[in-house]
Symmetry: C2
């Protein structure tokens, strides 16, 4: 493993226990022996789950299984996630692996197979040795604890250099509820979806239709606004489980005003997790926030932001601590959204570097160069045409990215 | 400068003299003193020019000037290209620079300003010191020679490590004609357009409408099928000048069957130049040919090929000599074109590695690993759905790309 990302938080945050959720990490030897590579999460009877999944047309067997489960109402009792092998592009063999895993898990826990959700992350194209998972399920479930959030976040890591988690509390109609989330990411991070795997749990009591609406909306300005390398995984999965144990008042609709605080906290947690994924971007040494305003719509602003955030020339310039705003202009130009060169304004680190189609009058590069030497880089682009705005997060492109990805399988 | 690309041809090809074309390189000190940074090409009276330009919405002042010239009939007498400064995102100052340059050039040569075409390549966002060009135009024109093709190709280099040129002869209705082309590229290479600058000259006598049709079509399977980093320049320009001195029979329409050989040779030359650009991709150590067939259309096939060719994960795997076909599956999945995981087949170096949604039965990695160690990598993807096919060329993503682009401006 490589060293911990310089952008990592000081420590894993405190995630409180959450009524109706127990977790455990376990070592199955799927790819390496002695490494925790299995996560099991038991959720209380009555839990419902929503999900947002990769739009890849070559999505993996576990993704197809989970999508079907969510579509059938999302009743949930168990989540089983392995790292080390993605069970992707494994054809009918892969689907059979999923089936054997959920059947065995349902038998061990005592639930229906449809209540078991699975995910696999790691190498693509290699059949999953599911017998290593099923043989250890009983032992893994025996270790379930309500306080194993850190362990859970670690169990799903692949090239991640630190475990990712976040927690928020919110009020629903006077009742406090908790939201805990974990994520894994690192490479193959790009919109639709961004992270490879993220699981969010709440003790709130909410119907699945409401959960799905909140999650689908929340992902738009969080996970779908991050990029590391523009590549999209075959396995990207974000799920939200609600155990209902908080006992809040019944809510029927996603637009119920009593959900305002919950929505805000959920969105905040999703953004927090998404940013942690970027901060563990493979080889990242700088966290880059790109604010685009004045575009014709939110989607236009996001697309422009992602064109900047995905540009290898922008990302290598940032790695080189070079305030090369010409490359930002280039990226705006190629985004395919309406833009007018002569209305464009660019700020780096708060300093106006370019406006009205040319370098800003009296532009002083010194404070911008100083900003570029920091760990947090802020780029603001005003398209000057409309009211659409979006914030996109990315990281720089460094030698370490190539080291990690040139030798991942070998 | 970095070392010459390991993919460079052994030497610059022999480009014959071409009736009605004289060229010269000159040192103006635009960015560095003593370096040849100006190309002037004089074309005989009666020459017409066609062009294909970047679709960037932040295109540069010289691009806008050339587009206008081509739109007004393309009458041409002189081409003036500088390297070291792109005169892009320079606003009204940039347009004034173009105006002063063409006015002075027209005065020195004795032609109309509209017959002067200009291009600038280099750093974006810095005003062009056009007075350095105009002061040297007379001296540059005094050096015009019909055999300075190598010098011309060198004059437009920026981060290029070798000069790029190609020549073909063709027959039009029994009359031999010559086509010579030069190009520069290296970084910021992606479709719409691919290369930053390429100029093709022929002595054929063809109306501008025919030239434009042939060039627009020819670019589709050549320059628009290459990618280095997915970034699109603000300055990309491909122009085709026809002096008419070969004296071939008059041709009125692009679909005239007497143009068949000329079309084939022009397409071949454009592909040759485009491939040379990829072979000089910044930091490239491997030349990658990606053949996509069985897609729903040519455009779908090309889009899938470019998704593979632009994927940092695919490109770093190739740099690491890792036959990581799972990443190819991922890239097909994210391309946004119709694909069915279970019909997909992938060959690397001619060896079937995956078919029908999983690893090919009896797949032997040894010959594929050997292929990955070579300089020429061939990836074939059969989508298995339709008859659309396209070939895309790219290079690997290496440490040197980051070195070059992290320190380009400084």
């Amino acid at each position: 493993m490589t060293a911990v990302s310089p952008l990592a938080p000081a420590r894993f945050p405190d995630l409180p226990q959450l009524a109706g959720v127990r977790l455990a990490g376990h070592a199955c030897g799927i790819r390496y022996s002695g490494r925790t590579d299995l996560l099991v999460v038991e959720v209380a009877p009555g839990t419902v789950a929503a999900g947002v999944f990769t739009r890849s047309l070559t999505r993996s067997a576990p993704v197809l299984w989970c999508q079907a489960g969510v579509a059938k109402g999302g009743g949930a009792r168990l989540l089983v996630v392995n790292s080390g092998n993605a069970n992707a592009f494994t054809g009918s063999v892969g689907a059979a692996s999923v089936r054997r895993t959920v059947d065995k898990a349902a038998e061990v826990l005592g639930c229906r197979p449809e209540e078991v959700y699975v995910a696999s992350t790691g190498t693509i194209g290699v059949p999953l040795p599911d017998e290593k998972i099923t043989a250890e399920l009983q032992a893994a479930l025996a270790k379930l604890r309500p306080d194993a959030w850190d362990e859970a976040a670690r169990a799903i890591m692949t090239t991640d250099t630190f475990p990712k988690g976040a927690s928020r509390t919110a009020m629903i109609a006077g009742t406090p509820v908790t939201i805990n989330g974990i994520a894994k990411g690192a490479g193959m991070i790009a919109p639709d979806m961004a992270t490879m795997l993220s699981y969010v749990f709440t003790d709130a009591a909410l119907p699945q239709s409401v959960l799905q609406a909140l999650l689908s909306k929340g992902v738009e300005r969080s996970f779908n606004c991050i990029t590391v390398d523009g590549d999209t995984s075959t396995s990207d999965t974000l799920m939200l489980f609600a155990t209902g144990r908080a006992g809040n008042a019944a809510i029927e609709r996603a637009d119920d005003p009593r959900l305002r605080d919950f929505k805000a906290k959920l969105d905040d947690l999703l953004t927090d997790l998404a940013q942690q994924v970027v901060k563990d971007g493979e080889g990242a040494t700088k966290f880059v926030e790109i604010v685009v305003k004045g575009a014709m719509s939110f989607r236009a602003a996001r697309r422009i932001g992602l064109a900047i955030g995905n540009s290898p020339l922008v990302k290598t310039a940032i790695a080189g601590e070079d305030a090369n705003w010409g490359r930002i202009v280039m990226a705006v130009g190629k985004a395919g959204e309406k833009a007018d060169r002569d209305r464009l304004a660019i700020r780096i680190g708060g300093v106006l570097v370019a406006a009205e189609g040319q370098m800003a009058p009296g532009y002083d590069e010194a404070p911008v160069n100083a900003h570029m030497k920091g760990r947090d880089i802020r780029i603001e682009v005003d398209i000057g045409l409309g009211r659409g705005c979006a914030t996109v997060w990315t990281c720089d492109l460094t030698h370490a990215y190539i080291d990690i990805n040139g030798a991942y399988r070998t």
